[in-house]
């Protein structure tokens, strides 16, 4: 099937325009069916099933047996579309499902994630992406292995990549499982395997090419699903149709309501996995500790962004170095559309619940009234929410209302009394976000293992067919491992996501940056940097999280990358300087990487 060739690329705007139109028609159809009396459950099932089938169809149409199509989508993805694909690759279940909830509960301190997950792209654009594109590698370890030379450097890069990406992908599969189980009414353990099946259908047959075109489709679904409810809610509350610019008043109003409801009172009871609101919405910390925690978290998320292989490898797919740079800008633009909406969503949802002038408010109402609400019953039945009259006065106080962070996004349409079609849309959006990220991550791991470990280290004589079969088998095996780990529910969605960034920055940030920016960096230095960075970071995580050690300078388990990356930098510089400088050929390679002109360093089918 030649649908994804030459003229497909020329027709991209038309193809995805039609697709977007089709999706909008589908939403309207669901809205009509809802009015006609179709049940909420069926609408949820149709939304998730319809979108997953479309992704699978795109995945099937993009199947390939060519190496460069499988690994780098044939290097012909235009900057804007690669931007959309990167945005979907980037915005995970955590961004979609948990970010607004995190801001809801964490206020200003939590917005450090928003700043870190956007500003990291400045590092990607200025330090990494264009140079890696010029290099012409298939995977991130491919760059490390060729720039520094030797199988050990390549192998260590594969280790860091696998550890970081695997930590991340379990959280994504967990999210697909949560959404699939909710929307389709399956047990969580079954939902996880259903999610994995969808993910593999998108990536297995066509590798990077299939993942690229499904990610573009997934971006369109997820951004519509995120923005529509916020605009709707904002309209209902009289904040206009571009709420992102106009919710300042709502933020200020929350300040007053927090005083009224006594936000800050500690709850007297605790429920596993659920939280009560205790942190003010916009007030920023005044202590050194609070400020330091904000900026260190920002730094970890930024350096992690610039080291995560599933993101960097997206820029290997553009037609040119120039397009790679522009594509980083477009990626951040598309990410920005969601990220500047998340704080608005958190603000509106909080206002819905807290403002006694709104019909939807619950704080300050009687427990009996609140318990009679349909959405309260529905979400407490699945254990996502608890109403507990701790002081026995029959009135719901702010510290008696407990919920999971994830439901701020998932339940908002119901809280605000929007039609069920919006809830179905949000479920489809969350599924798209988690699936697209899981696809990118699984592919990053499987490609590194098949290209770098199997082909470059174990069996350099393997033929194309063999390599691509190995890549696919690995994809299934790794996906199954991740789904198995996810079904054991080890950490909350967000804890694990932050760790992935810390692992990546501990092992890869400086070896990647210095590989381009410091000619003197050599093999021994890079090996020391990756090895000691990863080792010290992991040791610190273990000691702070489980070993009972007090964090140094408030650097807790979410920020362990600071320790890892610092050790990595020092080790890399000291060892590089203590050993011989790289040979002439390597130095010429670095010179070549630094200018866009000319052939890539690695040939197009290496």
């Amino acid at each position: 099937m030649s649908i994804i060739k030459g003229d497909f690329i020329d027709n991209l705007p038309k193809v995805y325009g039609l697709y977007t139109g089709g999706f909008v028609v589908f939403i309207l159809l669901m809205a009509i069916l809802e009015q006609a009396g179709l049940g909420a459950d069926i609408i949820g099932i149709l939304f998730v099933a319809f979108t997953v089938v479309i992704y699978a169809a795109i995945g099937w149409m993009s199947r390939t047996m060519q190496v460069d199509a499988y690994y780098v989508a044939g290097r012909q993805v235009p900057a804007v579309f690669n931007g959309m694909a990167t945005a979907a690759d980037w915005m995970s279940g955590a961004s979609f499902v948990a970010m607004a909830g995190g801001i809801y509960f964490g206020g200003h301190g939590y917005i450090a994630f928003v700043v870190g997950w956007t500003g990291g792209y400045v590092l990607v654009a200025s330090l990494m992406a264009p140079y890696l594109r010029k290099f012409g590698c298939y995977t991130v370890p491919d760059f490390i292995g060729t720039r520094y030379g030797g199988n050990l450097a390549r192998f260590l890069a594969v280790c860091v990549l696998t550890l970081a990406s695997f930590t991340y992908v379990t959280a994504q599969i967990n999210a697909t499982g949560t959404i699939a189980s909710r929307a389709l009414g399956l047990p969580f353990e079954v939902g996880v395997w259903f999610g994995l099946l969808g993910i593999l259908l998108c990536s297995m047959l066509g590798g990077m090419r299939a993942v690229t075109w499904t990610q573009v489709a997934q971006y369109i679904v997820l951004i519509i699903a995120y923005v529509v409810p916020v605009i709707w809610m904002s309209n209902k509350q009289g904040f206009g149709i571009i709420p992102q610019l106009a919710y300042g008043e709502a933020v200020m109003r929350l300040g007053e309501l927090e005083t009224l409801h006594g936000v800050g009172l500690k709850p007297t009871e605790a429920f596993a996995g659920l939280k009560a609101l205790t942190v003010p919405h916009y007030e920023a910390g005044t202590t050194f500790e609070a400020k330091w925690k904000f900026v260190t978290l920002v730094f970890c998320m930024m350096a992690g962004t610039a080291s995560l292989p599933h993101i960097l490898m997206r820029y290997f797919t553009t037609p040119s170095v120039k397009a790679a740079r522009q594509s980083v800008a477009w990626s951040l633009f598309f990410i920005f559309l969601l990220y500047f909406t998340a704080p608005a969503l958190a603000t509106f949802t909080k206002l819905q619940l807290l403002d006694p002038n709104l019909a939807t408010s619950i704080i300050g109402n009687t427990i009996a009234e609140v318990n009679a609400l349909e959405w309260i019953q529905k979400w407490s039945n699945v254990g996502f929410l608890v109403i507990s009259d701790s002081n026995g006065d029959g009135i719901l106080q702010i510290n008696e209302f407990f919920m999971k962070t994830g439901i701020v996004v998932l339940a908002t349409p119901e809280i605000a009394g929007l039609p069920y079609v919006i809830s179905g849309l949000v479920a489809a959006g969350g599924m798209a976000a988690a699936m697209s990220t899981a696809d990118g991550l699984l592919l990053a791991i499987a490609n590194a293992l098949s290209h770098d470990l199997y082909y470059k280290i174990i069996d350099p004589k393997a033929d194309t067919k063999h390599r691509l079969i190995v890549a696919r088998v690995l994809l299934i095996v790794i996906g199954a491992c991740a789904a198995y780990v996810a079904s054991m529910k080890l950490t909350s969605i967000l804890g694990a996501v932050a760790w992935a960034f810390d692992f990546a920055m501990s092992g890869l940030f400086f070896p990647l940056v210095l590989g381009v920016w410091w000619k003197r960096a050599n093999r021994q230095g890079a090996i020391a940097g990756m090895f000691f960075g990863l080792l010290s970071g992991t040791w610190y995580l273990y000691m702070v999280k489980w070993g009972g050690m007090d964090p140094w300078l408030y650097i807790d388990h979410l920020r362990f990358g600071i320790i890892g990356a610092s050790v990595s930098l020092v080790a890399m510089i000291v060892v590089s300087l203590a050993t011989a400088e790289p040979d002439e050929e390597t130095q010429r390679m670095v010179d070549e990487v630094r200018i866009p002109k000319g052939e890539t360093v690695l040939s197009s089918t290496h």
Binding site: V115, V122, A284, V298, V321, L332, F336, F340, D591
Partner: protein, 91 residues
Amino acid sequence: MTDVDQSTREAHWAKTKGLMITTLIIWFIFSYLVHWFADSLNSVSFLGFPLGFYMAAQGSLVIFVVLIFWFARRQHSIDEEYGVAEDVDKN
């Protein structure tokens, strides 16, 4: 090895480095500096928002997007200035 002489390479790289440093200074200000003073900025009102909150929720993000578009343009004109941009048919 692409046919570009060593002195051109060095001049091009010096200018590229300069752009990188400028970009990262702006990045540093809006990633760390303004948020360090978020509590003081909150007493200023901007578009109806407390400014410290606004910068974290929106202001810095807008600046990052604009900064990368600007960076991409600047870097391309540096490449062209030294004749090391890609051949046109690749774009």
